[in-house]
Symmetry: C2
Subunit: 224 residues, 2 copies
């Protein structure tokens, strides 16, 4: 198909498709002549995927490239699948003060970070150099600076709920490694906005049941 | 304090603080003379908050402004608190085909959107014009285009897990309306990266328990 048909089929404009081609996010079509190339359904799928990762997943171009690289190189073994997925999903190098202390050879067992204490309490099997550990400590520190404090009990509560989400994530992963990697990586990125919407909606429902009653008690009225 | 002390105390550079001032994200200090102003702890708190919303929450300047406006105008009644919070957290106007059909007066009860069917199944109390409804339908469509299909059973499973998260969100909300609004809005934005990290970590743990066994069965070895 011509690039105009690719644009119409994928719902992405011709200039944007040309941008994807220049950035190497889309493989070139078969050259027909000096100004035209022929595209197929593999291009439609890839254009839709790149747009989804950027628009819905909110990934940067560098992050999209990392995800695509991971998908294009299927893992040879099950052992390597998880490492590939985590690498593709990690947001670059995050400074982890705890890791730096370990590198200095200074062992401070009495002051592990909040994330490492959580992992220990939950007995999670986590590679110690997983970037999400440092990222979690940073996110907790930023929330704490703004007055949103998560004590151990609340954090354990969130961890329990998120474990259910992870079980649903993993449950639908197919057996074949390349398909499994695709499911893990894309499912993680593209379900983020779904989970965000679900959180807003369920907050409204839970708030309604909690606060509306509190409000109408003052008004002497009944809500439901 | 001088702007240099504000910078040192908040951990945000002087040029960035000046940018916040120009953009109206930070209230001016008390004017001392033609080139100097005096800042206090309210400025330190606000600078940290703005940085947290931008860096950790990933909000745009327009979204930060909406959140700050909501926080600066405490809701007069409990009834209005939820509306304020949802307005501050909604990502602008999202086209909702279902709502457009309703506006045309064309009732299509046989084809409600996936989000509205979910709300109906779960018996959630949701305002029908909540932006997150249209946003959820769009996120589901984008994921579906990329091959990540959520059937009703899976979506209900995610909804159940997220309801637990919402209950933890709401549980810690204080009684006083202004403080409650702050907790709901900031907690929702700043806990997103925390939940994202928890999901990556629990995925690794659940995957380990699922796939590692599958892998080592082939190798005839034992992982734990």
């Amino acid at each position: 198909m011509k690039i105009s048909v690719l644009a119409a089929t994928s719902g992405v404009s011709v200039p944007t498709i040309k941008f994807y081609l220049r950035e190497g996010l889309l493989h070139p079509g078969a050259v027909l002549n000096r100004t035209q190339a022929d595209y197929d359904t593999s291009h439609v799928d890839r254009v839709r995927l790149v747009r989804a990762l950027i628009v819905s997943g909110g990934l940067s171009l560098a992050e999209v490239r990392k995800v695509l690289d991971a998908l294009d190189a299927p893992p040879p073994t099950w052992h390597q699948l998880l490492g590939r997925a985590q690498d593709a999903l990690s947001p670059g190098q995050v400074a982890d003060p705890t890791a730096a202390q370990d590198a200095d050879g200074i062992v401070k067992p009495s002051t592990p970070s909040p994330a490492r204490r959580l992992i220990s309490r939950q007995r999670w099997q986590i590679h110690s150099d997983t970037p999400a550990i440092g990222e979690l400590d940073r996110a907790l520190a930023v929330a704490g600076d703004a007055g949103i404090i998560l004590d151990d009990a609340i954090l354990d509560g969130y961890a329990g709920a998120v474990t259910e989400i992870a079980q649903l994530d993993i449950q639908s992963v197919p057996d074949e490694p390349a398909a499994a990697l695709r499911q893990v990586v894309l499912g993680t990125v593209l379900l983020e906005p779904v989970l965000r919407c679900l959180r807003l909606l369920t907050q409204q429902d839970v708030s309604f049941r909690t606060f509306w009653r509190r409000a109408v008690q003052n008004d002497g009225d009944v809500a439901e």
